[in-house]
């Protein structure tokens, strides 16, 4: 993003105040070489299928984004402060599934997960912990050993 100083003053100040609380510990998980990893994407763009439940203020749960759903995706992220025209023109700007599959075909990564996941990134960090732990269980069950976290 541009330097905070280049943004409108009030907006920049609100961003400076949005630093979350310090999180305990520095977790670190190991995995196999990149060429053997199964990769999933977790976005906070508030994406979901058109007929899924929309995100609302305070949502801390997630939606499942199947790899086959890319033409159905809309966003109910509540923030007005990010561009949505890029996502409309090319989903890969926020959810680079085409690029990821191309890397899998080239053998750069092992495989792409069948399911990806979406949160709405306006929640308080600490309130996301239970949903994140639940999601981690599903990721492990799917053999995922590399998660890409993508904000908007």
């Amino acid at each position: 993003m541009p330097d905070l100083d280049s943004l409108p003053t009030e907006f920049a100040n609100s961003l400076r105040k949005m630093r979350g609380p310090a999180l305990e510990g520095e977790p670190w998980a190991e995995g196999p070489p990149l060429s053997e990893r199964r990769i999933a994407i977790v976005t906070t763009a508030g994406l979901h299928r058109r007929n899924d439940r929309p995100f609302v203020m305070g949502s801390v749960d997630y939606r499942v984004v199947p790899r086959t759903s890319t033409r159905e995706l809309v966003s109910t992220h509540i923030s007005p402060n990010f561009d949505r025209s890029g996502f409309a023109e090319d989903l890969n700007v926020v959810l680079p599934l085409d690029r990821l599959h191309e890397l899998a075909e080239r053998g750069v990564i092992g495989s792409v997960a069948d399911h990806h996941y979406s949160f709405m990134g306006a929640a308080q960090i600490e309130k996301l912990a239970p949903s994140a732990a639940d999601l981690a269980g599903h990721l492990k069950a799917d053999g995922v050993n590399g998660v890409l976290l993508v904000p908007v």
């Binding site: 993003m1 541009p2 905070l4 280049s6 943004l7 409108p8 003053t9 907006f11 961003l15 400076r16 630093r19 979350g20 999180l23 520095e26 977790p27 998980a29 995995g31 990149l34 990893r37 977790v42 058109r50 929309p54 609302v56 203020m57 033409r71 809309v74 109910t76 509540i78 007005p80 402060n81 561009d83 949505r84 025209s85 890029g86 409309a88 023109e89 090319d90 890969n92 700007v93 680079p96 085409d98 690029r99 191309e102 890397l103 750069v108 960090i125 600490e126 912990a129 994140a132 999601l135 981690a136 990721l139 492990k140 590399g146 998660v147 890409l148 976290l149 993508v150 904000p151 908007v152």
Partner: protein, 248 residues
């Protein structure tokens, strides 16, 4: 985002995240992060630039090869076009928008609503073209049909307030979703025009917020719907309809 990385990694699943606000990431110290210089809404750079998207993705994936963390790396370039920094050169949309009503008495809610309806009619052929070409549209989260979006939004200009047309959304959030749907119709439509091929997202958003009657309607609704006594509607109207960058 950093919190999610922390919580998922804590369960034993390796994570690597894009950082859009480096100051936040430096503070949160997630396991692996790649700071990119792109605008909000563009974590992988410019639409249609597969080469840039690949480079960002590879830089992110290679963080998994780090032996220890937390690790925060900087993506080494700014990409091109849509995500380059600096002021956007103004772009004007030469669509035959209804100038005949511009400059009239904008306090007349009915007049403004009619003007936006006319804009929308002029844009619909390009919206339909864009949806067909891309085989997708991002419009529809509100559950309101496109022809009804303007009248629903304009109903907030004066009491009584309308009912929510979507049982999954409270009235304030139905307004928010309808506003985003209307804006997406405009942006999807103009971005598909051949004469907009060289525009970037800053130019498109500036065009929407500075030149269209729809933006005038949204600003009027934000003002009218603020202070109704409904706390959620106050938040939506006061903070969530008009981007901060377009309100100062």
């Amino acid at each position: 985002m950093s919190g999610l990385g922390h919580f998922i990694e804590r369960e034993g699943v390796p994570t690597a995240g894009i950082s859009l606000v480096r100051e936040h990431t430096e503070s949160a110290r997630p396991p692996r992060a790649l700071s990119v210089p792109f605008d909000f809404g563009h974590p992988f750079g410019a639409p249609g630039d597969a080469e840039l998207q690949h480079r960002v993705l590879l830089a992110l994936l290679h963080l998994f090869e780090s032996k220890r963390g937390p690790v925060l790396e900087l993506f080494p370039d700014q990409g091109e076009g849509a995500s380059a920094h600096g002021q956007a050169t103004p772009w004007s949309c030469p669509l035959p928008l209804p100038d005949d009503q511009r400059g009239g008495d904008s306090e007349q809610a009915g007049s403004l609503e009619l003007a936006v309806q006319a804009e929308l009619r002029a844009l619909l052929p390009w919206y339909e073209h864009a949806a067909a070409e891309r085989q997708r549209t991002t419009v529809g989260a509100s559950g309101i049909e496109i022809p009804s979006l303007v009248s629903f939004i304009a109903a907030f200009l004066a009491p009584p307030l309308p009912d929510s047309p979507n049982e999954a959304l409270s009235l304030p959030l139905a307004l928010k979703a309808a506003v985003e749907d209307l804006k997406q119709v405009y942006l999807e439509a103009v971005s598909a025009r051949p004469d907009a091929a060289a525009t970037n997202h800053r130019q498109l958003n500036d065009w929407f917020w500075r030149e269209t009657r729809a933006a005038e309607l949204l600003r009027a609704v934000a003002k009218a719907a603020h202070g109704t006594g409904d706390q959620t509607l106050d938040i939506v109207a006061g903070m969530l309809l008009v981007p901060a960058a377009q309100s100062e």
